[in-house]
Structure formats: structure tokens, C-alpha cells
Symmetry: C2
Subunit: 220 residues, 2 copies
């Protein structure tokens, strides 16, 4: 099971993405290579985790030396199907939508917000971030003409199911929602809900039954 042939664990997918940001920093610092230990320290994980993760997408390193940073970044992006910019649309230009549209980081990370929609007449026509807000009435048509791959749904809870349905109808199969309610979607559409309440509940629970974290490799 080597060189990207087999199955990659979900957790590895997440970590591979999380390596990208530190790797960009390392690259900007001028380093040509990076070792699993260095990267592991930055990310607060075990070095063998890093090596195992990379082994799923190929034998990318050089023994005794480490990994070529530039090649590594390339390989990770390829493995994550992240070669080209991901085209995104934001539906709902309230506080959250606005925050996203004005968020400069997305651009650097390979996400491109190509359209924003709202149903409120006074918002349509406004320019927020890089885009001009469009009327939600044109949603399906515009999602297709802009070849949108992923839609962020940041509308009031009551509108979410309807928006979700329309997004699904338009053929977009990735949705990031800020509504915790389970949006009924066709099987081919993947929905992820950002549920801050859940995150907070988890934090509260773990703050009672404390747990520490360990790092190290071999000789701990």
C-alpha cells in the first residue's frame, strides 16, 4: 500500500491539510528541506504520525535528510485534489457572510470566493471583499455559470433548508452550513455543519475531566 494507491484515513486527510500552513512558513523562511521532527514540533504531533501520513501519499522524503519542502507542498495539494483554486459562493451576507467575504486568508489558501448572494434588496449590489452581492433569485443559474464547487450557507436558520435544496439542484455537491439542523440533502451532496455549540460543549466536558498531550518519538 504505497504511493497513493490505497485508502487514506480521514484523520490523515485533515492533518495533511494542517501541514500546509506551517510548510508555507518554512518555505518562506528559506528552508529547502524539513524533517518530520521539525514539522511535528510545529504541529504538536508525534513525528511518526507525520511520516505515516506522508507515506500514504508516496515516498516523498530522503533518508538521512528529510523532505523537500516545495515538493512536499505540491504532493499534499495533489493528494487533497487541491491543485487548482476551489471556487466558492457565499449565500447570505449577514455578519457571518460578511466576515467570510472579508477574510483575506482564504485567497492565500487556495479558496476563491467567486460570488455572493442575498435576498435583501439593500444588500444586492454592495461590494464586499472581492465580489458584488447578487440577488438570490439567480442562485442556481449563477452557481452553474461560475462553476462553483462549494457553497457556504450563512443564511437565517429558517431559510437554510430551501437554500440547501436549491444548491443541491444546481449540482453543487459540497456545502458548508452554519445551520446546525440536519439539512436533508441528496446522497451525492456532502454537507458539513459548523456547530460552535458542539465545540463549546466538548471543551466544557474536557475542561472537567482534564487530559494532557504528549509528544515524542521512540525514546519518550
Amino acid at each position: 500500500m504505497s504511493v497513493g494507491s490505497g485508502h487514506i484515513p480521514n484523520e490523515t486527510i485533515d492533518r495533511l491539510f494542517s501541514y500546509l500552513r506551517p510548510l508555507m512558513c518554512v518555505l518562506n523562511r528559506g528552508s529547502v528541506t524539513v524533517s518530520s521532527r521539525e514539522l511535528a514540533e510545529i504541529c504538536t504531533v508525534n513525528p511518526s504520525v507525520v511520516r505515516k501520513d506522508f507515506s500514504y501519499i508516496g515516498s516523498l522524503g530522503t533518508r538521512g535528510v528529510g523532505y523537500n519542502v516545495r515538493e512536499l507542498i505540491e504532493s499534499i495539494r495533489r493528494a487533497l485534489k487541491f491543485d487548482n483554486d476551489i471556487r466558492i459562493a457565499v449565500v447570505g451576507v449577514g455578519n457571518i457572510g460578511r466576515a467570510l467575504l472579508e477574510h483575506p486568508r482564504f485567497g492565500f489558501e487556495g479558496f476563491k470566493i467567486v460570488a455572493a448572494f442575498d435576498s435583501s434588496p439593500e444588500k444586492v449590489g454592495q461590494t464586499v471583499g472581492q465580489v458584488t452581492v447578487e440577488d438570490a433569485a439567480d442562485l442556481e443559474k449563477r452557481l452553474q455559470s461560475e462553476a462553483v464547487q462549494l457553497v457556504i450557507v450563512a443564511v437565517p436558520e429558517i431559510c437554510a433548508p430551501d437554500v440547501a435544496r436549491r444548491v443541491g439542484d444546481a449540482g453543487v455537491n459540497s456545502v458548508l452550513s452554519f445551520t446546525p439542523c440536519g439539512l436533508a440533502m441528496p446522497d451525492n451532496v456532502n454537507v458539513t455543519s459548523v456547530d460552535l455549540s458542539l465545540e463549546m460543549a466538548r471543551l466544557v466536558y474536557h475542561s472537567c475531566s482534564q487530559e494532557g498531550l504528549r509528544i515524542g518519538d521512540g525514546a519518550a
Copy 2:
């Protein structure tokens, strides 16, 4: 390993919380009891998952009948250390901070935002949602006097490490951050970062290598 004596899996903690919302709906509909099958259908999980999850926090059901909804909610909240409202402070009243402060749902779910802070003079004194924005200079003192259990950090990336340090110093040991950079925190502080880029990367990856989801019990 029964009746809350043993260890509860992390995934079970998450799911227990996610059952609360549907259970409130079921309660409001007037149902006295609910079966693992009903709840499983609403949450799109396997009924045996539901039963297993509940078994970690006790033998709460009645064979042949189901679970008493009201007791179930009580038991879950107790298990999650969620008996009383969780006292929260928001630091940074930009788009995201504002969205959180105006979010009515938190109140219903047992989270109480008791304070908000910003360093900008024109924001200090404004009332947003239920609270009046205070000067971030008083952060540590006020976190303690309000007995804040969890802080949401919604400040610009550049300020985040400083805010995080001060929050840690004030003795708060749960932080929800909107900055993806790993905040260096003492071991006793739990930090969760909301990383939308990661969520989107995951969606994009899985939209290529599609996977369906199955539900059912026993006879599939």
C-alpha cells in the same frame, strides 16, 4: 462498565450533545418517550449507536418501551457537565464577534454570553445582543469577576496570541478560537480552533472520492 462509571468515548460525547436538539423538539411535540430507532432516524445514525451511547451514561431506557424524553435530556446534560448555563465571554467584536453576540440560539442551548470585549474605543460602550462591549484592558479582571468558563477569541490573527495568553493567565481553561494558528497555551488550557479552510478542504476531497452513508439495524 455501566452507569457512568467508566470511560466515555469522545465520539459519544459529541453525539450525546447532538441528541439534545432533536430531543427538545420531540419533547415540544408532546412525546413522553422516544425509541432509539426514532432518534436514530432524526440524527441519521444507526440505532445501536444511540443505545450504546446511552449505555455509557446509565441504563436509562425501558425495554419494550423506549426512553423517557425528559429524563434522557436531564441525564445527558448531567453527563456532559452541562447542568448549569456555561458562562462565556467574547473577545473581539468584529463581524464574527457580532454574529455570535446576536446569535439567539446559544441562550436556548445553555450557553450564556456574559461579557464582550474590544480594544477599539468606538466599539466600547455599544450594546450588542445582551451585553455591552467593554474595554479589553480590563479583560483578566472581568473574566474572573464574571466567573467566565469559556472564552471565544474572535480578534484579528495578529492579536490572537496575546489575547490567548491573557485569557490563560486569568485562569480560564477553555478557549474557542477563530484563528487557525496554534496558540501556545499552558497544558491545562484546552483550545479548539474553528478552521473553516480545513472543513472546506475535507469537503472538496470527499466530493471527489464519493462515499455514501448507510443506516439500519441488524437486518440491513
